[in-house]
Amino acid sequence: MLRIEQLTKKFGSNTAVDAATIEVDRPMMIGIIGRSGAGKSTLLRMLNRLTDHTSGSVTFEGRDVTALRGADKRAWQADCAMIFQQFNLVPRMDVVSNVLHGTLNRRSTLATMFNLFPTEDIHRAIDILDRLGIADHAPKRAEALSGGQQQRVAIARALMQDPKIILADEPIASLDPMNAQIVMDALRRIHEEDGRTVIANLHTLDTARRYCDRVIGMLHGRIVFDGRPEQLTTGAARDIYGADASFSEEATSTQLDAVGRASNVATVPA
């Protein structure tokens, strides 16, 4: 389905991503972990074509997406939704308009200028917001919402794109533990119910273990771990983070229920 081969990105003399090779054969939820500056964000941005690659290739369903230009590239970006750490919504526009931005690839500039979105799309946007539990905020400005709510609006915008892949770049790094759990539950549910592939950069190991079917570890731009969450032992984590024996996950754990884990993955606020 998705094949990343020898994907490399150089910034001047720095190599941000060094010959990354990943093969995804079926829809799954993938967590990418690693230190800050390990190249996680650059990898996702290259998949979405926000950043151009230096060498290598990304193939999706037999099509080389790194070679796309112009309208084809924008169509691919519509198929490959992106969720950002800082939400990247338009703060002064209302929530539904922000969600409707997910359909911009199918709309002309003129229709956008006069705000002429079809009624079905508006209804669908509100349904998606309802699915994520924030339909009540529909007419509010995006900037009036809390961080967790804004991130769910961003997820709604991604769903509005009806994408084949959802990329999430540190979706919970700016959120408190409660909101982080709501957002991660929402992403997991999207994967389970819609069968979409979700690739998320995560900065906490426990989140990756708990929500992902597959964990990829990056260090200095290289992929140093690729396996099931159970295989992610403390020793493996130390290698990924380049840490010594003093490294302890619990010291920085942000999980709410450090005792009874994995009990409420499926329960999501409607």
Binding site: V96, I126, D130, A135, A138
Partner: protein, 294 residues
């Protein structure tokens, strides 16, 4: 369970209806605004056209006549073009000189006035409104008016043009610079006053290093504008390439090859300085990026 889902369903329906009503209202408002805008534009155009001596509809087909004649004559005498370019090059240098000197004087004056009129930096805080009004006045008077008065008093030549453009530039850059100053941090200034520095030392060492890149960027933009301004002032007798252009054009048909050469020179100058200044502006922002990364 069924009840719960129906109430949830009706809640979503309510939200949908409310939002659709909101959207319809917004669309109505933008529709009305658009209609008013179009009506104003059309009626304004009709009024202007009715009062016009010649009339737009009769005249607009002739718009391209002048360029066509110029190009036709220039291509006829294409072998004379390099000679014309050489002839008018000194006049171009004069025009650029006027622009450069007036931009430099204007930037220095604008920097001083902007610091005198920024809260927290001003030497005499009570006089801030006075300095602001001075800048307003300098901006308000068109260059061409000052130039005409000065040419009447001092006689034609590059000096009146330079003074006129510098005067306007002080006001224009002072306004832009003071907006840059608003965003500068006052902490270094406070640090310098704690060691007993006087006002000019505080400004020179505490403010200028912070604002210099933005100042330079605005000054380069102003330099481009001033090249055009000094070319225009040539028309009223201030020398430079504008004077030559006026002469070339007033000799009329048969001499348009000279006009063509001057247009080419002006075009090349504007392109050159646009490229040069965007290069420097790029380097400024790029340099700052590198500092931030380090």
């Amino acid at each position: 369970m069924a009840e719960i889902s129906t109430t949830a369903g009706s809640r979503v329906t309510n939200i949908r209806d409310d939002y659709m009503a909101l959207t319809r209202r917004k669309r109505l408002y933008s529709g009305i605004l658009l209609a008013i805008f179009v009506a104003l534009m059309v009626s304004g155009f009709m009024v202007a056209d009715a009062r016009n001596a010649g009339g737009f509809w009769d005249g607009w087909t002739n718009v391209l006549d002048f360029p066509r004649t110029v190009i036709a004559e220039a291509s006829e005498k294409i072998h004379e073009l390099p000679g014309h370019l050489v002839t008018f090059f000194p006049a171009l240098i004069e025009t650029i000189n006027i622009a450069a000197v007036s931009t430099l004087i204007g930037a220095i004056g604008g920097a001083i006035l902007s610091m005198l009129s920024t809260r927290g930096m001003a030497r005499w805080p009570r006089l801030i409104p006075v300095f602001r009004r001075i800048m307003d006045v300098m901006r308000a008077i068109p260059e061409i008016v000052i130039a005409l008065v000065l040419i009447f008093v001092l006689g034609g030549g590059p000096v009146p043009a330079m003074i006129a453009i510098a005067f306007h530039t002080v006001g224009a850059l002072g306004k832009l610079f003071s907006e840059v100053n608003e965003n500068a941090s006052l902490k270094p200034v406070e640090g310098l006053s704690s060691v007993g520095a006087n006002w000019s030392q505080r400004m020179l060492l505490g403010v200028v290093p912070q604002v210099a890149p933005n100042y330079l960027s605005y000054a380069l933009l102003r330099f481009e504008i001033n090249i055009r301004a000094s070319a225009i002032l040539g028309f009223v007798g201030a020398g430079g390439i504008g004077y030559e252009l006026k002469n070339a054009m007033s000799w009329g048909q048969g001499q348009y090859d000279e006009s063509a050469a001057i247009f080419l020179l002006l075009f090349a100058t504007i392109v050159t300085f646009d490229q040069v200044s965007s290069y420097f502006r790029d380097r400024l922002t790029h340099g700052r990026k590198q500092e931030m990364l380090a």
